[in-house]
Amino acid sequence: MKEVILDCLGEACPVPIVKSEKAIIDLEVGDLLIVQIDHSCAMKNVPEWARAQGYNVEIEEVDDGEWEVFIEKTK
C-alpha cells in the first residue's frame, strides 16, 4: 500500500488525465494515487475517467479552485 502524489498544478485540461492514466499503470492494486489539480475542467474529467475504470474516487477541495483527487486502484 503506497501513495503516489501526482503534481498537476498549473496543467491545463488534457494533461492531468493523461498523466493519471500513465501513473496508475505503475501502481499495485490497493495503492492510492493523489492527483493535485487546479483546472476546473480536469476536476470533472479525471474523477469521471477513474470512476469509469471502476476505481474508488474521492475529491477534496483543498483550497478555492484547488483540488486533490484520491484514486484507489482496485483492480
Binding site: 475542467c41 469509469a52 477534496e60
Partner: protein, 255 residues
C-alpha cells in the same frame, strides 16, 4: 504539515474503505455524504457570500449605466454574465466534449453539447419560422454562409489548437476569469490568432469561401423538414456517442 497530511490521508482511506464495504450501485451518494461528514480536517475556507453580494451589486450598477447609454449593451452585459456563470458552474467544455470520447471514452460532455444543440436548434427555428410566418425578414440570414473547404481547414486547425491550449474560445475566457494563469497565455495568442485571421479573411473569402454553396435547409426540405432532419441527425449522433461510451468502457475493463 506532514502530520496533517498523513492524518487526512488516513481519513480519506477510511472513507474509501467504507465505500468498498458498501460498494453498490448507489455508492456515489454514500461517498458524497461521507465526504460531507468527514470534512473536519479541511482547511477553513473564506466565506465568499459577501463577495458574491458585492459583485452582484456592481453588476447591476454597471448594467444600469449601460442601459442608460444603449439598451442593447445592457442585454449583452446580462447575457454575457449569465453565459459565463452557467459555463463555469456546469464545467461545460466544448473541447472536452470532442476530446474526451477519444482520450478516455467518456461521452457525457459530448451528449450534453448535443442536447444543447437540439435546444438551440428548436429555439432558432422558432425565431426564424416566426418571422417567416409573419412575412418579416428572417433574422440571422447573414450567418448562412457557403460550405467550403475553409470550414474543414478551419475546424481542423481550431481542433488542434483548442486541445493544446486547454480550452476553446469560451472555455479559455471562462478559465481566465477563474484565475487560471496559464490560459492568459492562451488568451494572448487567441487574440493574436484572431487578428491574423481577420487580416487574411479577405483572401479566404475571395478564393475559397465564395466558391462553396450556401445551403439554408428550409429552402430544400421545407421548414418542418429542416427541423426534423436536424433533430434526427442530433439523435443519431447521441445514440452513437452512447454506444461509443459503452464500447470503450467494455474494452477498458477487459484488460
Amino acid at each position: 504539515m506532514v502530520v496533517y497530511k498523513v492524518k487526512r490521508l488516513l481519513i480519506i482511506k477510511q472513507r474509501l474503505g467504507g465505500v468498498v464495504l458498501s460498494e453498490t450501485n448507489n455508492s456515489l451518494s454514500a461517498r458524497r455524504s461521507s465526504s460531507r461528514s468527514g470534512s473536519a480536517n479541511r482547511k477553513p475556507k473564506k466565506n465568499l457570500i459577501p463577495h458574491g453580494i458585492m459583485s452582484f451589486i456592481i453588476f447591476v450598477v454597471i448594467g444600469l449605466w449601460f442601459a442608460s447609454k444603449n439598451p442593447s449593451l445592457a442585454i449583452f452585459w446580462m447575457t454575457g454574465i449569465a453565459f459565463g456563470f452557467i459555463l463555469q458552474r456546469s464545467r461545460f467544455c466544448f473541447t472536452a466534449s470532442m476530446r474526451d470520447p477519444l482520450l478516455t471514452g467518456v461521452t457525457s460532455v459530448l451528449r450534453s453539447v448535443l442536447i444543447a444543440f437540439a435546444i438551440t436548434s428548436i429555439g432558432f427555428w422558432a425565431i426564424k419560422y416566426g418571422a417567416f410566418v409573419q412575412g418579416l425578414p428572417i433574422p440571422g440570414m447573414g450567418y448562412v454562409v457557403p460550405v467550403s473547404f475553409a470550414t474543414a481547414i478551419g475546424a481542423t486547425m481550431f481542433g488542434i489548437g483548442m486541445v493544446i491550449a486547454g480550452g476553446c474560445a469560451s472555455g479559455t475566457l471562462m478559465r481566465v476569469g477563474e484565475g487560471f494563469m496559464m490560459q492568459i497565455l492562451s488568451l494572448t495568442f487567441f487574440i493574436i490568432g484572431s487578428l491574423l485571421g481577420a487580416h487574411d479573411f479577405g483572401w479566404w473569402k475571395e478564393n475559397v469561401i465564395l466558391k462553396g454553396k450556401s445551403i439554408f435547409l428550409p429552402d430544400y426540405l421545407g421548414w418542418f423538414g429542416a427541423l426534423f432532419a436536424q433533430l434526427l441527425l442530433i439523435v443519431v449522433l447521441f445514440v452513437i456517442a452512447d454506444q461509443w461510451e459503452q464500447k470503450k468502457a467494455g474494452n477498458m475493463s477487459s484488460h
